[in-house]
Symmetry: C2
Subunit: 262 residues, 2 copies
């Protein structure tokens, strides 16, 4: 099943996505819902954020080739993490597919994409094990962990490097029934394939993150866990670009890039 | 005006607090509301979290004496921050006054309180200046930034040291019309005064934080900014303790402490 959240003539609803057709749902996939008889062409709908989490978890460094690329590029010596210590991002930064990534006027740059698989929590969960961790997962979507590299290095926290308004594109849809370790995530900039990686290479699996998180924290329906990116995250993004995060069973998270004037 | 959120016989509502009496509000102070004729004795109501934010901002290090105490205690050399780089905490950790702070069974400790003044955002805000920053503030409440010091030092992020379930007591009420730089925040453990400080000593003012945040990020009604703690945060909390964060015009945020068995 693939679902999204849509707007049509001021009305907001969840809908089942089948090819280019959307069937309106009565209710929410995060609670209870059923299909209605109302069907729409996908092209006639505005695609909204599929949901907004209560807590927005983010794995950060979770692929070896991405860490090694960062070290080569910056002359740093960041070690691979030894434990699955999860981080957070901020809801103010979320935007839907189609909405612009806005580079602040005073950004020294570079600003870069990070295409990620995102696990969407469907059930309240505490004290899960790796064996039953996926029981709380409703499905998977895509995220772009847009990052301002000068601020990421210079600031005490990642508030501004990772969480400016519009720096967290999310969507377009949520797909159930996927194996989180057997997906291919690709990134296109202006229609050119610039990266493609297998989620099977993640350092700490989703199952491990969920078991570790729920030892201390309750996961709630609609929470999400961004699972990190692999490989290089170039070319740098600039005004006029379009960046796409692609995973075939989920769809294409497509956002234009603009630079703010002030 | 002082307001809170309450539960009575399964019904949830905002209410005006005047002494020991609560007047039910129709609507929300974060949108529009008006007083009803329904009045209750405060003692008959369950006090809930006053709100749950979309984005949970936290100043972290924002008082010199607290940083200096930490350096003396731990033999560290943490510098005072040079810029107001805001951080985040996680909503899963929020609890209301009266609810227990639960120390995880495997916490090496120590676990400590950090009593803080919290600014509550009432209006959507972007590109404010220090001069008009407080226009977006609805009022002030109290927070306890409970911290597990071993994990704070050992983990790559502060997920577990600061954001275990129950580690973020918030409340009890929100009071409007206060000067954020002229409050006294006191902390009692088991009825004994263990710390008391003036918010006038904060390194970066609330006005500065809001101006800096809103240069890059939109603040939304119900967001909040925790403003940091001053001085030492001892004695360590243990099973059976009661910790109180006190600011006279806001009230007392009182939480018992228990240690989980597994």
């Amino acid at each position: 099943m693939k679902f999204g959240r849509f707007e049509l003539q001021g009305k907001t609803f969840f809908g089942l996505v089948e090819g280019e057709q959307v069937t309106e749902l009565d209710g929410s996939p995060f609670d209870t819902c059923k299909a209605t008889a109302k069907k729409h062409a996908l092209s006639t709908l505005k695609v909204l954020l599929p949901f907004v989490p209560q807590t927005f978890y983010c794995a950060g460094l979770n692929y070896a080739a991405h860490v090694e690329w960062g070290n080569r590029r910056k002359g740093t010596n960041t070690k691979l993490p030894e434990k699955a210590d999860i981080g957070y991002r901020a809801n103010n930064a979320l935007i839907a597919t189609g909405e612009p990534i806005v580079i602040p006027a005073d950004s020294p740059g570079p600003v870069q994409f990070e295409g990620e698989l995102v696990a969407v929590i469907g059930k309240t969960a505490r004290h899960l094990t790796e064996a039953n961790a996926l029981d709380c997962v409703l499905g998977y979507t895509l995220g772009n962990d847009v990052s301002e590299r000068t601020w990421q290095k210079a600031d005490r926290t990642m508030w501004r490097s990772k969480n400016c308004d519009s720096f967290k594109p999310l969507g377009p849809f949520v797909t159930t029934g996927l194996d989180p370790l057997k997906q291919t995530v690709s990134i296109d900039v202006n229609g050119v394939r610039v990266a493609s990686y297998s989620t099977g290479k993640m350092l700490f699996t989703l199952q491990h993150f969920i078991a570790r998180i729920t030892r201390y924290s309750t996961l709630h329906p609609g929470d999400m866990i961004w699972l990190g990116t692999d490989e290089a995250t170039e070319p740098d993004l600039k005004h006029g670009d379009t960046v796409e995060i692609i995973c075939e069973p989920i769809g294409v998270l497509r956002n234009p890039v603009v630079r703010a004037k002030d």
